[in-house]
């Protein structure tokens, strides 16, 4: 009971933490989805040496633990003369990391688009950029929704690691409250509940896309 009271009393800390987690994840998605699509276009369209280089870079980035990337960005940028506060360093590392995964997801989704669609578009004389905009991307948005949803949940999970570079997100808030009031259970349970809520929202979005897909393609 006491723990619940502590959580309620420090609700502004939790809301601030949740707001930071949400703003990081949304900011990251707004940046990494377009960049990921562009990256996937490079991975499918570019001439061989460039494409191979890009593929190697994406694979290498997917072998790095996120926390280490965050540390390297957080401590490395000042060496390059760029001083960022933790939130921006966090957003930057989260975006770089998520973009690598999304580029790979979009590349696989591009390949799964039926080739006759693309041939038909060519036959109608559509330009390359028009084919991507009108034929490939709308289909990919629907078919790749579950995988993208999974990646969004992974991004929410990864964002918690940013507490270690002192970004005041949700886990940071829970840890702060638990350390200040010596009641570990309720603050962490509250944080887990909020994370669960976020992933439920993402899953509801994915289910909605699934319905669209069923309506269109049976």
């Amino acid at each position: 009971m006491n723990g619940l009271l502590v959580v309620w009393d420090s609700r502004d800390v939790f809301l601030w933490g949740a707001a930071n987690t949400l703003s990081l994840v949304l900011g990251c998605l707004l940046l990494s989805i377009p960049i990921g699509i562009l990256g996937a276009v490079v991975l499918t369209e570019a001439p061989d040496p460039l494409r191979r280089l890009f593929a190697e870079a994406v694979d290498l980035l997917r072998c790095v633990p996120f926390l280490l990337l965050a540390y390297v960005v957080y401590y490395g940028l000042p060496e390059l003369g760029l001083r960022l506060d933790p939130w921006w360093a966090g957003l930057m590392s989260l975006t770089v990391y998520t973009t690598a995964y999304l580029a790979e997801i979009f590349r696989a989704a591009f390949r799964a688009v039926a080739p006759d669609n693309i041939e038909a578009a060519h036959a109608f004389g559509l330009s390359r950029s028009l084919i991507y905009r009108r034929i490939i991307l709308p289909q990919v948005a629907i078919t790749a929704a579950p995988v993208i949803g999974n990646q969004v949940i992974t991004t929410i999970r990864d964002s918690a690691l940013l507490m270690i570079i002192t970004v005041q997100e949700l886990t940071f808030a829970a840890n702060f409250v638990s350390a200040n009031h010596f009641t570990p259970f309720a603050p962490f349970a509250a944080a887990v509940g909020l994370y669960l809520l976020m992933s439920c929202v993402v899953e509801a979005g994915v289910r909605r896309m699934e319905r669209v897909r069923k309506g269109r393609y049976g």
Partner: protein, 217 residues
């Protein structure tokens, strides 16, 4: 960076490798057990396990680590950092791998089970002799990627004070006031470990495909 500093990080690498190895040995069988219980017929258990899996799936790993380390003592279970790290890693990977095992169990060809039943094999013998040898080979790819994800999770246990690669690098950074070089070395070690595992997975997959004809797309 000096040689002793690099030695410290390499000592951390041994801890990381040991943590990962123990957690893998515990979590993959536990994941299989969870999957079997979820497909089983004990009332209430499947729903409970489904709730557990979605809870772990939604919880960030650091949060899980802090939860295990700070909350379990309040429930009377005092844990040192290293066991707490192993518990958190095991719970996390068991939940994720149980989904892999479960989808393998659900999609296992029905006619093979029926044939085994027709030969009078017990359910237990069917599982040990027929089902298990096939599903672990067919799912080696997803299971190994679960292992790489586990390895990528291990830096998070530095928050509760386990001196593995990341914590060792942090210490050196704090001593020398130059945090970047040790973290770059640490990143290099992780990348090498994970890339080796990914390459190894491809080799083993190819070998299994050649020996048992389990060609996967």
């Amino acid at each position: 960076m000096t040689w002793p500093a690099i030695r410290t990080i390499l000592d951390g690498a041994v801890v990381t490798a040991a943590l990962a190895a123990v957690s893998i040995l515990l979590s993959l069988p536990l994941g299989l057990l969870l999957a079997l219980l979820r497909e089983g017929r004990i009332p209430g258990v499947p729903a409970l396990l489904a709730a557990f899996v979605s809870l772990v799936r939604a919880t960030p790993f650091v949060t899980l680590v802090l939860f295990v380390y700070f909350v379990l003592p309040a429930a009377g279970l005092e844990l040192e950092p290293v066991p707490a790290a192993i518990v958190a890693l095991t719970l996390n990977t068991a939940a994720f791998s149980s989904e892999i095992w479960r989808s393998a169990l659900v999609t296992f060809p029905r006619d093979q089970r029926e044939a085994a039943a027709a030969f009078g094999m017990s359910e237990r013998a069917t599982f040990i002799r027929i089902v298990f040898p096939q599903i672990w080979r067919a799912n080696l790819g997803p299971l190994v990627s679960e292992v790489t994800i586990l390895l990528k999770c291990t830096p998070a246990v530095a928050v509760i004070g386990v001196v593995e690669i990341t914590r060792a690098a942090g210490r050196i950074g704090a001593e020398t006031y130059e945090p970047l070089p040790p973290f770059l070395v640490a990143t290099l070690i992780y990348t090498a470990l994970i890339a080796t595992l990914v390459r190894g997975q491809r080799v083993v997959e190819r070998r299994i495909a050649r020996r048992f004809g389990l060609a996967r797309p």
